[in-house]
Amino acid sequence: MRVFPLYRHIGVISLLSLLVFPTGNAAFADSLEKLKKDAAQIQSIQASFIQSKHMKILAKPLLSEGVFYYQAPDSFRWEYLKPLKSIVLNHKGRTKRYIYSGGKMVEDKSGGVQTMKIVLDEITAWMKGRFDSNPSFQATFQEGTDIQITLTPVDKSMSGMIEKIVISLAKKEAAVKTVKIIESASDYTQIDFKNVITNRDIPETVFVEVQ
């Protein structure tokens, strides 16, 4: 199976949100070991997000809204509510992607689903705090008013697609604020998270049913 790098990068967006939330409850970790320890405490996450896409040809950013859910060990729902509805579900080893068509969600049977499984393998690793184990990125930490984790691709196949990824975390609240995927000087995607809830029971149907 040929795996286009593209899908790996799409998944990075999801990956990053999952990466940062496990850091959430104590004074923020300043080391990988601390992050790993915090990550081990997280059993579930739910949050909403606003994604703004900035492009040179766009007079104003394209805004998308969505929600996501995670339940340990590997259940996952990443859903866009508008303007373009789509859902990725992962549960008990099965991954499905749905897109909106004709007034309902229909399964996306393109190759993207299979490649998402590879992404989810990475997600699992990151959920366990092993976000430094991805050889495609070099991670650096910077502590100021906020904490920033900067991921720089080392894989040349990403050149021209992702320049770097910056994750900003509020120091006091110890919660993620934004994830910024920078493609070029003028093009980037920023995801702002809100309403983050950890370790609250999530019905299994969330990871199975599209509606």
Binding site: I57, L62, P83, S86
Partner: protein
């Protein structure tokens, strides 16, 4: 290609339907791509089109925000800035921009004939510089259609503009009749005029 009959007294003074842009405009559409009667993908299309300069910039973006394709055409020169598989196919960019020009720019040519189609719809038939024929016709429900034919009269594209709100159509459907056949179902997310 159907014959165009001489307009009746009722239609001879009608002006040609004009679903095309009159000023530089930026669009964002939700686009469903169908092939062989089934949905293949859903993406966001970004278009900036200037009808006076006949210049275009466009991008295809996933819901996740990844740019799959980005290109511009200015002064007749096509510049592909980014093209991920399968949008990196050799003739994809040119074909896509040709479709966008069909949607938003008046045909490059002259009106060859004004008249009535066999079903009674008033039509303006354009003869494009490159030889294609373009029929632009409407009805009383503000639905406008375009059919592009090859120089020998075989149908190549069929476009349906519907649900006009203000000066922008909320729905545009394009059916490509050439192999491989495909259809684009475009729903307007936002539109705004662009001042240079």
């Amino acid at each position: 290609m159907p014959p165009v009959k001489t307009p009746s007294v009722l239609t001879e003074n009608l002006s040609c339907p004009h679903p095309f842009l009159r000023e530089k405009t930026s669009f964002v559409h939700a686009i469903e791509v169908h092939a062989a009667g089934k949905i293949r993908s859903a993406v966001i299309g970004v278009t900036v089109a200037d009808p006076l300069a006949r210049s275009l910039s466009c991008a295809i973006v996933t819901a996740e925000g990844m740019v799959l394709f980005e290109a511009e055409e200015m002064g007749g020169l096509l510049n592909v800035r980014r093209a991920m598989p399968p949008f990196d196919a050799e003739d994809f960019a040119g074909s896509m921009l040709a479709d966008i020009k069909l949607l938003f720019f008046a045909p490059e040519g002259t009106i060859h004939k004004r008249g009535v189609l066999p079903d009674g719809k008033f039509v303006c038939r354009w003869k494009e510089l490159e030889g294609d024929w373009v029929d632009v016709f409407g009805d009383c429900n503000e639905v406008i259609q375009i059919k592009r034919y090859s120089p020998c009269g075989s149908l190549k594209r069929h476009v349906i503009y519907d649900n006009l709100a203000g000066i922008y159509f909320q729905s545009i459907v394009l059916h490509a009749k050439e192999t491989p056949t495909y259809s684009l179902y475009m729903t307007l997310i936002e539109a705004q005029s662009v001042r240079n």
